[in-house]
Amino acid sequence: MSAGTIEPTTGAPETLPATRWIEGTPSLHRITTDISRPMEARPGRGWWICFAISSLAVLNLLGMVTYLFAKGIGIWGLNNAVGWAFDITNFVFWIGIGHAGTLISAILLLFRQKWRTSINRSAEAMTIFAVMCAGLFPLIHMGRPWDAFFIFPYFPNQRGPLWVNFRSPLVWDVFAISTYFTISLVFWYLGMIPDLATLRDRATTGIKKLVFRVLSLGWNGSQRTWSRYEIVSLVLAALATPLVLSVHSIVSTDFATSLVPGWHTTIFPPYFVAGAIYSGFGMVLTLLIITRQTMHLERYITTNHLEAMAKVILLTGSLVGYAYATEFFNAWYSGNVHERFHFINRATGPYAWCFYLMVLCNVLTPQIFWWKRARRNIPVLFVASILINVGMWFERFVIIVVGLHRNFLPSAWGMFYPTVFDVGILVGVFGLFFTLFLLFIRALPMIAMWEVKGVSHG
């Protein structure tokens, strides 16, 4: 996380001015009012436009999923050769997105990174929404979603001693993702309690007050509670950090433990984690750039924050690029005919264009962040963040589909062509994600007031 460390470790502090994480020194009250404004002021046109578009996408999602349940997943382009495509691609993609949030809050908290304070709240929210989107796919990709509960080892049941297969990475997924979701949610909510109390005390209308009163659990800022509170946050951070790493490692075992050429690789866990953080930061960047403009929070989400994230992206992006290279080397070095063919096919086969698009977006794009001017240039950052998300989606697509469509027996080779339902659901889930986020920035403090206060005055 060295890239995230902003305090200069070498050189005398007085020669180098410490990075300012908040423009000026607003009064405590000013901080409160600034950050509460989005929730109290009427939303601007920008918000409404975004919300309209994304909620349309959600409607489309609802319709298509309903049709999916009615007709079966035959409406997708899947077939005997390619059993997973958009569905699991989306799943892994969203899980990846869900990584930056907890990472920013947990790891940066452990590293005592001050710059997390302005962005951790929205990053965590993003995590939660992303995991929700991801969680949709294991359900709807099933042939018989109405029997989805079979995957939980529950009691009592009718079938006696038949449980689930704890050797299956899919079961690991179930536990990993539900754990990750729960812990992230708790962490997010816990961090919000003091701010909820603030809002409660600012609230004027009765209903608002009531809601915030229930949510804030009667918080009154007692120092004794504060001291326990900080301990608990640290503990949660300490738990969440390995959790973040474990989740995508486990997701990667869906592929790594199989014997499909291109899936069956030991570097997948670190490679997937790096990719996840990479795409996660990409998405945080996208979201923050939009919100700081629309919600006028430039004072709290400064270019310094964006630059710090750009550095993380540069690092993880390079890691990902390294992993790509390693895969090819291993395939060649293994001498395994199936492995070798897979990677030749990846680079020259019918899906080669996906592969090169992925390399372009994930390996080349972040290299621009070697230049400080690029790191601090909002348009560049924005475009880059979009490209990164596109690239990471295609990375998963390439791994999954190219791995499946031509493997061991040439007689069973096939192609995957997406249908309107594949694309529609992909779009719809983006809609769901943004809808949730837009509602969040209107309903809850998207910046941790108490932490900002601590940073600016503490």
Binding site: S27, L28, H29, T32, P153, P161, L162, W163, V164, N165, F166, R167, V171, W172, F175, A176, S178, T179, T182, I183, V186, I193, P194, A197, T198, R200, D201, R202, R213, V214, L217, G218, W219, N220, G221, S222, Q223, R224, T225, W226, S227, R228, Y229, E230, I231, V232, V235, L236, L239, A240, P242, L243, S246, I250, M449, W450, K453, G454, H457, G458
Partner: protein, 174 residues
Amino acid sequence: MAERFLVGSFGEPEGLLAAVSTLRDAGVAIHDVFAPYPVHGLDQAMGIRRSRLPWITLLAGLGGLCFALAFQYYTAVFDWPLDVGGKPENSTLAFVPICFELTVLIGGLGTVGAFLLRARLFPGKREQLPVLGVTNNVFALVTPLQGEGNEAELARQIMLENGADEVEERETES
């Protein structure tokens, strides 16, 4: 019966800190301090011992670990040892991920639960604020008011000296 307190409100944490330490030197008991964010050094000043919650985390985590191991072993080896791809019935390595996840899950939830209990935070609890704005920009120092007034006077004195904007007497409603 209603307790009576002396509440001093500060606009800045520095004065608060000074007041707290002076009060303790003067031997005045401090009921509690209320702040919009955790003020560093206040714990030492007030002499709050470090919380023992991490032990709860350890216990809960271990509990989760043991449960996960035992459950997976029971289902896969004892209850119905099905032949899954010729793998050994006790595929311990394959059980590791879930063991880890349950350790974290139960450890984390246990800690938070314990914290909420210990801090007596629960939905619907009516907050008790010494002064309005402790969740916004006010730092409140609260000392109990015993019978003899001179100690109260002393406390009031110290607070005002250390830049309290206002010092007033309050009663807990009950």
